[in-house]
């Protein structure tokens, strides 16, 4: 298994039982980032839902998008609330907005030094972090600062 930003033993994401977000989790396994888009009114939507929040159409589709964005907000947790994080120390979480997809926002860790200064508005690109040994296997979408 390749290196991961947070230690082993973190909660394992699985698709919803009703199949709503199966496509997202399958795409991440192939290194692809997809989000929902309404077939009728072209509204981008995230997180996933069965209906378009703009026109109430149920014709939601999955669109592959360029895996990049910019930091909309961030936080640095220090206090561990999960046993796997007991010896972790601080880590960075960013909320990334995706201008190419209607400014929907996604959450991930910001790779690199957990003590670094984070600047809102910075451009970031996705890094796919596979967890092949997990049961079931999954891939997280992480973020790193984009090359200038």
């Amino acid at each position: 298994m390749s290196e991961s930003y947070l230690p082993k033993g973190m909660p394992i994401p699985v698709p919803q039982g009703d199949g709503l977000d199966k496509s997202y989790w399958e795409a991440t396994r192939h290194g692809e980032l997809v989000v929902q888009k309404c077939s009728d009114c072209d509204t981008w939507q995230w997180g996933p839902e069965w209906v378009c929040h703009n026109c109430r159409s149920f014709n939601m589709t999955w669109k592959q998008i360029e895996p990049s964005g910019r930091i909309y907000s961030w936080e640095r947790p220090w206090h561990p609330v999960h046993p796997a994080l007991k010896d972790q120390g601080p880590y960075l979480v960013v909320l990334v907005e995706l201008p190419q997809a209607g400014n929907v926002r996604m959450i991930g860790n910001l790779l690199g030094d957990p003590h670094q200064d984070v600047v809102i508005g910075s451009k970031v690109e996705a890094v796919f972090e596979p967890h092949d040994d997990a049961e079931p296997p999954y891939t997280l979408v992480q973020w790193r600062l984009a090359a200038k």
Binding site: V14, H79, I120
Partner: protein, 424 residues
């Protein structure tokens, strides 16, 4: 004799179903103003147990709830026999049917649970109790909350499930599990947009701890906080330090809501409900932090509705109780309730402005969730009542109007405004 809504007796042969037509003839604003609880109900009694540190209550949670309710009855000067309804929030574990059976309530006429976790529903519980009384579902409704985190799973600790799905699948694997981890992201964006200093958060924390030093009920009584102690405390989630976070406690609290007329006949000075509102704005609960108005405590559209019903403006409010799950929520909630503009936070949130009796906006005058007790905000409701009665431990002289802001940043929040007889 039957009466129409405007208290005119119906003429012989005139049917009650003509009422809606008469209403339609009036303008919309007037019709809205008739759909109000303003001045129709009051909090007539309040009660709380001893407040304990997490895990230290000698009583179990159900016993705590019963004791708080009986204390509220005693305070109101009524027999528990008069209680006929219950309202709570945050999936309270103590069901009204069990309480009613245990206390021998003669007839249960109303029970109500406000959806949503955390303390977003505390003002809604008092508001729902008021609505039930105003509409005649019941006559004497208890709004209550019991919380023995020592006996049950603690808030702020993640569930032990190895697998997560739904919204949690997009957060937990990245280390976003606790409430603060979910809400710090909102505050960081807010502080970025409006260039807010950390000193704002420190002042909010200091206000609660300062007030608690005069409150023997407070768990942090005789445990003062200083600027240095705050600044030296460890980060929990940046931008929040330890003293930006509420305590964990065991206890219970209750308020008794009756009609305004009945409240005037009871022994305490009534705290009349002037307005109550609950909810949140556009797509507040959108998954994966996609709320339309993200750098927000969820009150942006609620507060104007509240003030309209209460017929009060922010500058007429004498004292503010604003639920501190975390100081960051108080900061945004105070802004969204119109007490200062977001750009003014650094000047407005100076400690001297927040302290009773003479501060511009006395805040959390019992010590609140940070320093009195984390009773999911019901303690703050009780404190608002005490301010209106004039018997707070940090009394604001002549306080006629008190606002209570509940559970900022959760997806379903609520607020309430209480007033003295002089405000009616």
């Amino acid at each position: 004799m039957r009466y129409a809504a405007d208290d005119l007796p119906l003429a012989e042969g005139q049917f009650a179903f003509t009422l809606p037509i008469r209403h339609l003839a009036k303008d919309a604003k007037q019709r809205m103003s008739e759909r109000t609880i303003r001045g129709k109900t009051a909090v007539a009694g309040v009660g709380e147990t001893t407040y304990y540190k997490h895990g230290q209550s000698p009583d179990n949670e159900f016993v705590l709830v019963l004791k708080a309710i009986l204390a509220a009855c005693e305070d109101a000067g009524i027999s528990p026999d008069e209680i006929d309804g219950f309202a709570s929030y945050s999936n309270d574990r103590n069901e009204p049917t069990r309480i009613a059976a245990a206390l021998g309530i003669k007839e249960l006429k109303y029970s109500n649970m406000n959806w949503g976790g955390g303390g977003g529903g505390v003002a809604a519980a008092v508001g729902n109790a008021s609505a039930a009384v105003a509409c005649g579902y019941a006559d004497c409704v208890v709004a209550f909350r019991g919380l023995a985190q020592g006996q049950f799973r603690r808030f702020g600790q993640s569930a032990p499930d190895p697998h997560v799905s739904g919204d949690a699948a997009y957060m937990s694997p990245y280390g976003i599990m606790s409430p603060l981890q979910k809400y710090a992201m909102r505050a960081m964006r807010f502080m970025h947009e409006y260039d807010v200093d950390h000193s704002v958060l420190r002042s909010i924390s200091m206000a609660s701890y300062t007030h608690a030093q005069n409150n023997p009920r407070a768990v942090m009584y005789n445990r003062p906080l200083s600027d240095e102690k705050y600044d030296d405390s460890r980060w929990i989630v940046e931008p929040c330090r330890l003293f930006d976070c509420c305590q964990e406690n065991d206890g219970a609290a209750a308020c008794i809501i009756v009609s305004a007329e009945k409240a005037r006949d009871l022994k305490q000075k009534p705290a009349f409900i002037l307005g109550a509102a609950q909810g949140s704005d556009h797509r507040c609960g959108a998954p994966v932090m996609n709320a339309s108005n993200f750098p927000s405590s969820s009150f942006a559209t609620l507060a104007p509705r509240l003030y309209e019903m209460a017929r009060v403006s922010p500058d007429e409010v004498n004292v503010v109780q604003s639920y501190e799950n975390f100081t960051i929520g108080v900061m945004m909630a105070v802004v969204e309730h119109g007490f200062c503009a977001p750009e003014e936070c650094n000047e407005f949130f100076q400690l001297e402005n927040l302290i009773a009796p003479s501060g511009k906006m006395p805040l959390n005058t019992s010590g609140g969730n940070l320093a009195e007790c984390y009773m999911h905000g019901l303690g703050l409701q009780i404190e608002a009542v005490r301010q209106i009665r004039g018997d707070s431990v940090n009394q604001v002289p002549g306080a006629d109007v008190a606002i209570n802001i509940a559970g900022p940043m959760v997806h379903h929040v609520s607020s309430i405004i209480m007033g003295s007889e002089a405000t009616l």
